[in-house]
């Protein structure tokens, strides 16, 4: 009886292993025959079969981005950033004298698709380098793929703690500071306020996303340590659209400061719900929405006034190649300078880091590139960047506040261009 039982168990385990193995294979191979909806030219056929020679063709760089689905907004901006960078580099002699060729695939904001995409880019398309997708949610699983094949993974938007705590050495986050430090300029600012305007209570209302949760944990630690009381702490599912019940509770507690862990749509949803509920915070901070000037203004109108957010870049910044990037963007995609999303700059930064790293190494060797990126300092549109052993960047974000029709940089320190308005006007 007993041995039969064990035979049964072992066969079940074997069968399930087989199924997972097949499933895994299917998952990685499935996308291969389907041509991705990439605008990309197929990586120029390299007819030369001689693999030992350094191919003289373009340097191929692949990425999978959320061009559709819930992260499509920043994903599309990141794609534009990569394209502006590639056009700029190619117009200026390429990298190591070779042109750059991008292959960008849409992963529909889906983790499994993104993982399969990177597998395909590395194993089927055999690109020279891969660069990251948008946001920690997609960077976490895809960086594992890159690590497995020994590829460096410079990425524009995955700064959550979970990006760096998995023992990977190939990740390089191309923003000024890790995600959970994004709100530090704001919390420093709040803590330093004089007693008459310094908040005594705050509420945190955050989307369930590794990035926003990371930022919110940083905010909660810093503010509670400074004696400001957390009176309300809510996490909602990413697809939430209705915030009225949350807002009514927040209004009832009436905290001095509201901190939203948000992307764009829920920033708009939250602010509108607070207006409906009659809640007037003295200070308000949201992680992402306010740094997308056009859509944020369209969504909440005058209620933008006085809202804070953190930002890694702004169009007028006098950083390395920033003016070139802004000009290139406007030429390729049109629009107003003030409407260029920050994600464009973050993706451009990825390109800058990659280019300078590759040029320092002098070849397209990923292992050598990884070693180089842990040591060097690179000039970028968000300022000079260097990385610690975990791939975390060593700098700080800027603090922005909406004043009038657009936002102004109000900190930290000498980077400020305007005086912050405290308390926030009514919305």
């Amino acid at each position: 009886m007993k041995s039969n039982f064990w035979k049964l168990m072992i066969s079940i385990v074997l069968v399930s292993l087989l199924i997972t193995a097949c499933g895994g294979q299917a998952a990685t191979e499935a996308p291969a025959p389907v041509e991705p909806a990439a605008p990309a030219e197929e990586p120029a056929e390299e007819p030369t079969e001689a693999p030992m020679e350094e191919p003289a063709g373009p340097i191929t760089i692949g990425a999978s981005l959320p061009l559709t689905g819930r992260m499509s907004e920043p994903g599309t901006a990141a794609k534009q950033g990569y394209e502006v960078w590639a056009a700029f580099v190619n117009a200026n002699g390429g990298i190591l004298g070779r042109q750059v060729e991008l292959t960008i695939i849409d992963n529909a904001s889906d983790q499994d698709t993104a993982v399969a995409d990177y597998e395909k880019l590395i194993t089927v398309d055999e690109v020279d380098f891969v660069v990251g997708p948008f946001s920690s949610f997609l960077v976490i699983p895809t960086s594992e793929v890159a690590a497995r094949y020994g590829y460096a993974f410079v990425e524009p938007a995955g700064g959550a703690p979970d990006v760096f705590n998995r023992g990977l050495t190939n990740i390089f986050f191309a923003q000024p500071a890790p995600g959970d430090e994004q709100a530090i300029p704001f919390t420093d600012f709040v803590i330093a306020l004089p007693d008459d305007t310094r908040p005594t209570t705050f509420a945190v209302v955050s989307q369930d996303d590794p990035f926003t949760i990371g930022v919110m944990d940083g905010v909660k630690d810093a503010l509670t340590a400074a004696g400001i009381e957390l009176v309300f702490d809510e996490i909602y599912a990413p697809e939430t659209t209705d915030f009225s019940a949350i807002a009514i509770q927040v209004a009832d507690l009436d905290p001095d400061l509201i901190v939203g862990g948000t992307q764009l749509e829920d920033t708009i949803g939250q602010i509108r719900a607070y207006q409906d509920a009659g809640y007037q915070p003295r200070l308000a901070f949201f992680t992402t929405g306010p740094s997308l000037p056009g859509p944020f203004r369209e969504g909440v109108g005058e209620a933008t006034e006085g809202v804070f957010a953190a930002i890694s870049w702004f169009p007028e910044a006098e950083e390395y190649q920033n003016a070139d990037m802004v000009a290139g963007y406007l030429e390729m995609f049109g629009g107003e300078m003030g409407d260029i999303p920050e994600d464009v700059a973050n993706a451009f930064t990825v390109g800058q880091v990659l280019q300078q790293g590759v040029e320092a190494v002098g070849s397209v060797d990923n292992a050598a590139l990884i070693e180089e990126l842990h040591q060097g300092t690179y000039q970028t549109v968000v300022g000079p960047l260097s990385f610690n052993e975990l791939g975390q960047p060593q700098g700080t974000f800027m603090l922005l506040q909406w004043q009038g029709d657009t936002f102004a940089i109000v900190g930290p320190g000498e980077r400020a261009r305007a005086e912050p308005i405290v308390p926030k006007p009514s919305w």
């Binding site: 499509s72 809510e234 599912a237 009225s244 019940a245 764009l264 509108r272 859509p295 909440v300």
Partner: protein, 298 residues
């Protein structure tokens, strides 16, 4: 679990009921289509979002208020519904599985179309009165009722009353009801079932157009939003009883209320569970839904 103050509880309950009214407007067409055609219109959510986009587009391009632009969007969606049923869906008549597949394909097509037309940025209509509220003071309780939600409920009641009048007072309505009760018998009695079905689909999309207009005023949406809303609407009509209009209305109010109250009593993350618990328990004791009738499939 934490008990909020009465003030909060009553406020969220009232908001929940208002929201439920808008849900009812959105889900009515779905239950009507199922009643008449026995087809689950998976594209209903996509038509809802399409209507919301039409309202958004007419507002941003021509400054037309969504309450007014329904004059355009309702007839437009009505015609789209007629054509879709008459020339597409009727071809797979009698095979509900294929009908679901076809409407699913329609949903994906619409999603792609909307994504390319309006990009995938979150949109919503922000009018001058978007953040206006009616403030009602009742002794120590203050009710704040956003104009747009009150307007949504009023629009829902008007639309549902019109449908009710069409169903109860007109020949078309009698034919629709007869088709719901027994398609073959209705056909034998001389009802032009094809025409009834096309009209039903048209009317259903007309109501969803009105729902979409209200939607655009209250929530943000993008081309992919239809997925979560179709599941919400399906749950409503299953709870209410597939094919039952009053059932859909009742279930929509229950959903709005349950979501809203559960969000403050438990957490907003857990709030959908409460509605589904109500749904499961109801289905255990009344498999046909709250106000549904048992049908014996021949």
């Amino acid at each position: 679990m934490h008990l909020p103050s009465w003030n909060v509880l009553i406020q969220v309950a009232v908001i929940g009921i208002l929201t439920g009214g808008v849900y009812a407007l959105m889900a009515t067409g779905l239950t009507l289509i199922f009643g008449v055609m026995r087809v689950i219109n998976i594209a209903h959510g996509a038509f809802l979002i399409l209507s919301a986009y039409i309202s958004y587009w007419m507002f941003t391009a021509y400054g037309l208020d969504p309450f007014l632009s329904v004059i355009v969007s309702v007839p437009l969606l009505f015609v789209i519904g007629l054509i879709f049923q008459r020339y597409v869906l009727s071809r797979v008549q009698g095979d509900p599985g294929l009908g679901v597949l076809l409407t699913f394909a329609m949903a994906l097509t619409l999603e792609g179309l909307m994504g390319s037309l309006w990009e995938s940025t979150g949109r919503s209509v922000r009018t001058a009165y978007t953040s206006n509220v009616f403030v009602i003071e009742l002794s120590d309780i203050t009710l704040r009722l956003p104009w747009v939600r009150v307007g949504g409920l009023v629009a829902a009641v008007i639309a549902l009353l019109s449908i009710f009048l069409i169903l109860s007072r007109t020949n078309l309505g009698r034919a629709i009801r007869a088709t719901i009760q027994n398609r073959s018998a209705a056909q034998l009695m001389g009802v032009n079932v094809e025409r009834v079905q096309a009209m039903t689909f048209g009317i259903s999309l007309g109501t969803v157009a009105a729902g979409g207009a209200m939607f655009s005023l209250i929530w943000t949406f993008n081309s992919g939003s239809h997925e979560e809303w179709i599941s919400k609407m399906l749950s409503i009509i299953v709870l209410g009883g597939m094919g039952s209009l009053p059932g859909a209305f009742l279930a929509a109010i229950i959903m709005g209320l349950a979501e809203s109250v559960a969000a403050v009593v438990m957490s907003s993350y857990l709030s959908p569970i409460v509605f589904y618990l109500i749904l499961f328990i109801t289905l255990i004791f009344r498999p046909q839904g709250l106000l549904g009738v048992k049908v014996r499939e021949e």
